[in-house]
Structure formats: C-alpha cells, structure tokens
C-alpha cells in the first residue's frame, strides 16, 4: 500500500469527493490562491497546501474568499441548507474566535431550532494545535471547546489513514462536522489506500492493546503516547492506547470496556486542563467505571496557560512521551 503524508491523504479525499459529487465545493482563504494578482490562480492550494490542484480541475467549485471567517462559515452553512456539501477551510482553529456565532449559534442549531426539518451537511476544516512555535493565536487545539456544543460533530485525526477515511465520512454526513487537522502531522506518513473508504464516527481505534493501563489520547498526542507505550514494553508494562478519532460522538463504550479490563486510566490531550477532554474522559470514568478503577486517574495536558512562542517554552508546555510515561507509571505505583 502506498505511503502518503496526511496532507496528501486529505487532498486525495477532497479530490475524490469532488469527483464523485457535484454538490461538494471548497471555500476559504487562498484555497486557490493568487486571485487578482500577477501569480497563477490556483497555485497556492491553501496555506498548508491541502487544497492543491482542486481549482485547476474544478474552478467553479474552488471558491477563494476575502479574510472574512464569519462570511466563510456562514456561506458554507447557507449553501448546505439548500443542498450543497461545502468543505470550508478556516486556516487556523484559533480563528474560531471570529466566526464562533456562525458555527455555534447558526449551523449547530438549525436542525434543532427548525424542528428537524433542515439538514446542514457542511464540513469546516481547521489546522489545529501546537508544535510550530506559532504562539498564542495560532497554536490552540480548540476541538475540546467545540465538543461541548450539541449539534456539531467533531473529528480529530491522528494519522494520514484516518484523516482520509474520516474526511470522506464527514463530507457524506448530513450533520455539520468540524474537522481539526493537527498541523504538526501534515508531513507524517502512513499507508493510505488509493481508493475511497470511510471510517465511521464514534468508533475509537485501538492503536495499541495491553493489559495494565488504559491510555486515551487525542490528535497529535496519539503518536507521542504510542512512543511512550512502546518504550514501556521493555519494562514489562503493556497498555491499551485508544484514539477516539471523533470527540463528538465519543466512543464511550470502547473506553469503558478498556478501563473495565485494566482498572487504570491515563488521558492525554494537548489543550489546557479546565473543561477539556482529559477532564471529560476522567469524569466519564468516575461516573461509569468507578468500581473498576484501582487508583487515581491521571490527566496529561498543557498547563492553564496560553501557548508560548519560544521552542524551549513550547516544549515544556506541550505533553510529550516523557510526561505520558511518568503518568502511566504513576497509575501503577
């Protein structure tokens, strides 16, 4: 099977969805690029290159916009309400700050407020997360915030294979989907089939299987947790590593089943701790698996702080394999 980067896997999914369904279109800032300039229109393909080549094949369905995030999300929502399947790109998840109303008060709630008589099959893609020394306004995960809003589905792929299958599911889904791409993973490769395939929402992936500790990790924390777990095998410690892949819906059953077998839980996410996914999963375990637990749950996450700029500071800020290893060992102490 061919090895592809996550960027190329997402790009391939977009091409295949555009090819298959004329109601799919992409919209966002520089998704084509160079409009109105001396450069060749379509030569940018998004600031991370994820939409490369789409304008060249489907110029009418690759819509460059001004820097107007509310209008981008609103346009996607409105087009979806009348039957299109837009895939909007918001360059950085941090920019949710300037289009929150269109996501949270508009697209998330149409179906409910309209008594179940509408559908809004829009996908909003975001680059997300830290690791680029991009500092406070270009490094946030944000998916943990958006998970709290009913009406939205929230996807966080951790590898190229999942990214393609999850994005194709998202585009086919009739509910609004937020798709968060951990930007440090764009260059990471995995085996990715050339043909179209989907990965169902709400179905966690068991990345590793073991007996001693359940580790739940999200997005870019999944490969870090896998590295920590692989190293611990030499010490005779084995862990389940669960990648939920979608935070809404959440595969609660998979997490609870694993805790039932191991009795120990470590939850890993790159976002700060308050009202985040690590607390959410810890709460789930305390509520529904308390009698299985043999000791305290450990949360590994960023501190209650904005993301710092300096590489040394960001390295100290983000969870890494050492912190995950320490947490796993702490649950066994």
């Amino acid at each position: 099977m061919p090895e592809k980067t996550m960027r190329d896997a997402i790009n391939e999914a977009l091409h295949q969805a555009m090819e298959q369904d004329e109601s799919v279109f992409v919209i966002g800032e520089d998704v084509a690029g160079c409009n109105g300039s001396a450069g060749d229109v379509g030569s940018v393909g998004g600031v991370f290159g994820v939409t490369t080549g789409i304008y060249n094949r489907w110029p009418d369905r690759c819509v460059d916009t001004p820097i107007s995030e509310s209008a981008i999300v609103g346009a996607a929502a409105g087009a979806a309400l009348v039957g299109m399947r837009p895939v909007a790109e918001i360059m950085f998840a941090d920019f949710i700050g300037v289009c929150m109303d269109q996501i949270v008060n508009q697209m998330a709630k149409f179906r409910y407020m309209f008594g179940g008589k509408s559908r809004c099959p829009a996908v909003i893609r975001f680059s997300a997360g830290g690791g680029f020394s991009a500092a406070g306004q270009h490094s946030q995960a944000m998916y943990q915030v958006m998970t709290s809003f009913p009406g939205l589905k929230v996807v966080v792929p951790s590898n190229a294979y999942d990214a393609k299958g999850l994005l194709l599911s998202a585009i086919q889904d009739d509910d609004p989907v937020l798709f968060f791409e951990p930007k440090v993973l764009y260059q990471e490769t995995a085996e990715v089939p050339d043909e179209m395939y989907t990965i169902p929402f709400g179905q966690a992936n068991f990345v590793r299987e073991g007996d001693d500790v359940t580790v739940v990790a999200f997005g870019q924390m999944v490969p870090k947790a896998a590295a920590a777990i692989d190293a611990l095998a030499a010490e005779g410690i084995s862990c389940d590593l669960i990648d939920p892949r979608t935070t809404s819906p959440l595969d609660e059953a998979a997490i609870l089943e694993s805790i039932g077998a191991t009795g120990r839980l470590v939850v890993v996410d790159e976002a700060p701790p308050r009202c985040g996914l690590t607390a959410d999963i810890a709460g789930l375990a305390a509520d529904k698996a308390f009698s299985s637990l043999k000791g305290p749950i450990k949360q590994v996450c960023a501190p209650h702080s904005p993301t710092p700029f300096s590489p040394e500071l960001e390295a100290a800020y983000l969870p890494d394999a050492d912190k995950i290893t320490a947490a796993i060992k702490a649950t066994l102490a």
């Binding site: 009418d60 309400l81 508009q106 179906r111 179940g116 599911s169 009739d174 709400g202």
Partner: protein
Amino acid sequence: MSIPKEKLLHAYRSMKTIREFEERVHAEIMNGQIPGFTHLYTGQEANAVAVCAHLDESDTIISTHRGHGHCIAKGADVSGMMKELFGSSEGLCKGKGGSMHVADIDKGILGANGIVAGGPPISVGSALAAKIRKNGKVAVSFSGDGSVNQGTCFEAMNMAVVLQVPAVFVIENNYYSEHTHIDYAVGCDDLKARTEAFGFPVFVADGADFFAVHEAAGKAIAHARAGNGPAGVFAEQGRYHGHFVGDPQAYRGEGELENLRENHDPLKVFRQHMAASGDLSEAELDAIDAEVMAEIEQSVVDAKAAARPTPEQVTADVYIQYGTTA
C-alpha cells in the same frame, strides 16, 4: 409597473394577515399565553410582502428576530406559526424554535434569527449555491438598521460582491436598534452611500408604501437574478410596537407613534392607492379583512388546543444521526 389583480389581492391579504397575526400575538402575550421573547413587525408589513412578491418558493429568504412578517410573506403556514409561538409540538418547528427561529426550508425560509446580522452570511451561502448551480435563484436577507453596524453584515456584503453572487440585502430601517436611534448608531450621514461603497446598487423606498417597496425590490432582485451580483433595498418605516413586547419605549418622541399609525400605515396607504386606481374595491378589501380575522382567530383556537411537547422530545433532532455512522 402594473401589478395583476390576483397579486394585489394576495399582497393585501398577506399584509393584513401579518397585521392581525402580530396584534393577536401581542394580546396573547399580555394574557400570559405565549412564553419567551417576542418582537413584533406591525407597521412594517409592506416591506416583507413587497419583497416576497418577486420571489418564488425556491428563492430563499433569511430573516431576523422580528421575523413573523417575513415568514408569512414567504408563505409559512400561519396556523403552524401560531402553534409554534404557543410552544406546541404541532408547531412549525415542533416547539423547538419559537418566535425567533420560525423556519420552513421547503418554502425557502431559512429561518428567523435571534442574532442581529446572523443572517446575511448565510444568505450569501444560499446565493453562492445558486451561482454554482446556475439555476437563476436569488437569496434575500432581511435585516434591520441595527444589523448594518455588525461585522458579519460587512463581511457578507463584501463577499457577495467579490463572488458576484445573487444576494439581495434588504435593510429595513425602523429607526431604532433596540432603544438607540440610527442617528446615533450609524456614524456616517449617508448610509446608502456607505452601503453602495461595497460595490452594489441600493434602491431606496418608503416602507409605508407597498408600491414603492415593490418597485425598489423589483429592481434589486432583477439585478441579482440577471447575474449582475448583489443588490440592496433600503426601506424606511417605523415599527408600531417596542423592540420587544413589554418595551416601555422611552425613546419615542411626543406624538411619534400616533403619527406613524395615522399617516404611515401600509394598510391604509394600500387602500388609498386602491381607491385612487380602482384596481380593488372596498368590498373586496373588506372581505379579505373578514377572512383574515377569522383565520387568525381559528389559529389561536387551534394553537390553544394543540398537543404539548413531552420530555422525551428534548433531545430529538439535535442530529440526523449520532453515534456510529458510515
């Protein structure tokens, strides 16, 4: 522009329906029969009806918190709306939306909207869909004088011009954004010029006069439908009630409301036009009045008798499908 008799009858019936619907809703709120926050459209009926006279079912509108009139003008079921306002599970939105979220997608109504200027970006999306599909449809967003100072309105207007989509921005100036006058809240002296500076034509009309709004909206909608990009309509007309039902209206000048009702009433103005032209007789208009009164009365009787929602319906329709999908 000569308007066929059938359309005149329909226009008057729509305006009268909005008027009686709103006045009855006001009375029922005062009786404690309708819960929540409600904003009435009384006085502005000509705007909604004259704009929607140029639309068919598959053109879309998006509305505002003051949305009952737009929804009725675009063809929403009046009885279903009344049930919705009463919170019945038989309401147009099953009692999930209420006054501020009345919608009927099948009629091209993308919803009333509780967020000021929440609608224009969504309407641009509907217009973009029309452009991609090349189907000749237009997307109308109604918003008020308060909306023009929201960033979303600016973003939507600029993007509509950049993308050259058939979006029509109908700005209804009722002079007050909540309790603050437009002369304070709009920083420039010429809102039409400010709006046209985005790069599309704006047609201005007296919102008390159905025929004036009809002409202005006709030009704007024809401009958009012909593929010339977006257009705007400014219609100026005060509202008879407060921002919300219960608003003490401390901002009104002496005699202001009386003058509005006496000299700027769209129903009276319409009847004056008919008396002058002879297109519709007084008897024909009176007959419509009687039918509308009966229809609204029946809608309230039905709403009071309609089924109430039950607790298990709380979580219905959050998603089309949640849990495992593929």
